[in-house]
Symmetry: C2
Subunit: 299 residues, 2 copies
């Protein structure tokens, strides 16, 4: 087993312990926690079409296809999520080399999806609206498939603030551009503020696992979600830039002081939607570049 | 020539007339309007890497590759944008059947890009953050390539409000979920409100062209941009739905009264970013389904 912090060994060691506490949860069925939706209209529908997955309740036997799913790993890039699925296939010791794995969403180019054993690997594109579409349909898929005790991991790359390149940040709190732990969901013409709480026990357990892999420096910190890669993150290399380098550094230093260790573009809605459907989630990223501030300049 | 409203004939008839007025523009060079950026740092950079295109100023000769681009067509789906490029290739009478056209962004899976003659066809994924990343890098690409007199078209499908399925909506005004013609750009922890004005002359010219294709009912109207496909658009089939069917219908009727004829997820930022860089843009969509309100129930 290589020192991969995304390994099934790591996941297996994290999850059973966390799931023990579910036995006392209200939403149980013989100790199992089923995925639920919060939409009274859904069960009244004759057919539910998951448009952006090219799947549906009449055209596909979702319980047979997905009923055994326990771990869902989501990330922005379709190539990476295919590579992740192949890696899982190998780690799980599944038959074959995995090359025969088909994209379950081949009928559309919006997202890609691969399944190996109890692990589902799905891409979600970039930004809150894109992952939001995917999460609505993923949660409905898990609900229709009668999945239970599911954990969703969001994995990917991000821009670090004041941390070493290549380090892994496990998110304890997802915050917005104003360093607040909230997601402002626009529902038609109303704004509803939702909690972006993540499962701290799960974060701590993954952090404990990470100690076995010292060549991947790992820390727990706040992750900031922006709606824009360039101006939103204070970058100086977009088509538009109306602020100074000093203003950018000031913002990033304030973010660091507020506990932010990395920036990406999806974590708040990920925490908000999954939280409302009672699904445990974990958000962690490898910081590919020291994009923001030299480590030495941090307060 | 088939009755395709996206035809090169259509575009050709639209653009020269519109470009005439550019001669009096301040930002001209022998009557040409070059694409510009609004970022004083950009020219100071040794190298500009267009991360999400897998292109760069040191690794690629952008003026040679893209200097003749006049029309950029963008849309969410990569498959559709490839199909569009193939169609353009055929309509323009370019050599070969187009099957040899390569994805210029093959080095990444974030977006795809095809070029045929003066037409560039690019995908942008779903939602404001995703198209925003693409637009920043597209405008920098056009700037580095010294392109002039460029028009960008956003084409795609959308959900119609009180209009016939299959009809085409040409956007005159891009509005947000509150029916306001504005885009709220978060720049670090500040919110800046930007105009979402579109080129009305261009919209009118395309509308005039559409009269030659009566089997595509076409109208000019406001297009609403939401950050969410489910709750944002009042859908009753998401994983989360906390409102009634009546509340949804009330919202959509109010949208119709405010002039909104279709809903999608990118138009406000498309208008805002391109507008700030002085690029003419046109936003038009085919409404694939009568998703929202029965035509007969409209006021």
């Amino acid at each position: 087993m290589s020192g991969c912090p995304l390994s099934v060994e790591g996941m297996a060691s994290v999850l059973p312990a966390s799931n023990k506490s579910m036995k006392s949860d209200r939403n149980t069925n013989v100790g199992k926690k089923f995925v639920h939706v919060q939409n009274p209209y859904l069960d009244l529908m004759d057919e539910d079409i998951l448009y952006h997955f090219a799947l549906g309740t009449k055209t596909h036997n979702l319980p047979v296809m997905f009923g055994d799913v326990k771990f869902v790993c989501v990330g922005g890039s379709s190539n990476r999520m295919k590579a992740f699925a192949l890696r899982m296939h190998k780690e799980l010791g599944c038959e074959g080399d995995g090359e025969e794995m088909k994209d379950i969403c081949a009928g559309t180019d919006r997202f890609c999806m691969y399944k190996t054993g109890p692990v589902l690997s799905i891409s979600h594109g970039m930004g809150v609206p894109s992952i939001s579409v995917m999460l609505h349909e993923l949660i409905k898929l898990l609900y229709h498939a009668q999945c239970c005790d599911v954990t969703i991991f969001r994995i990917g790359t991000s821009g670090g603030i004041g941390i070493e390149p290549g380090s892994v940040v496990i998110t304890d709190t997802a915050v917005d551009s104003f360093f607040k732990p909230r997601f402002e969901q626009v529902i038609m013409d109303s704004i509803v503020t939702r909690s972006t709480e993540l499962d701290r026990d799960l974060a701590e357990e993954l952090f404990t696992c990470s100690k076995d892999f010292p060549h991947f420096p790992t820390l727990i910190g706040h992750t900031m979600c922006t709606d824009d890669f360039y101006e939103g993150q204070g970058r100086l290399d977009g088509a538009l830039c109306s602020y100074s380098r000093e203003k950018k550094l000031d913002y990033l230093k304030r973010a660091y002081k507020a506990g932010v260790r990395n920036i990406e573009m999806e974590c708040t809605v990920f925490a908000a939607i999954c939280g409302r459907c009672g699904i445990k989630v974990l958000n962690f990223h490898v910081n590919m570049r020291q994009l923001k501030i030299p480590w030495s300049s941090m307060p």
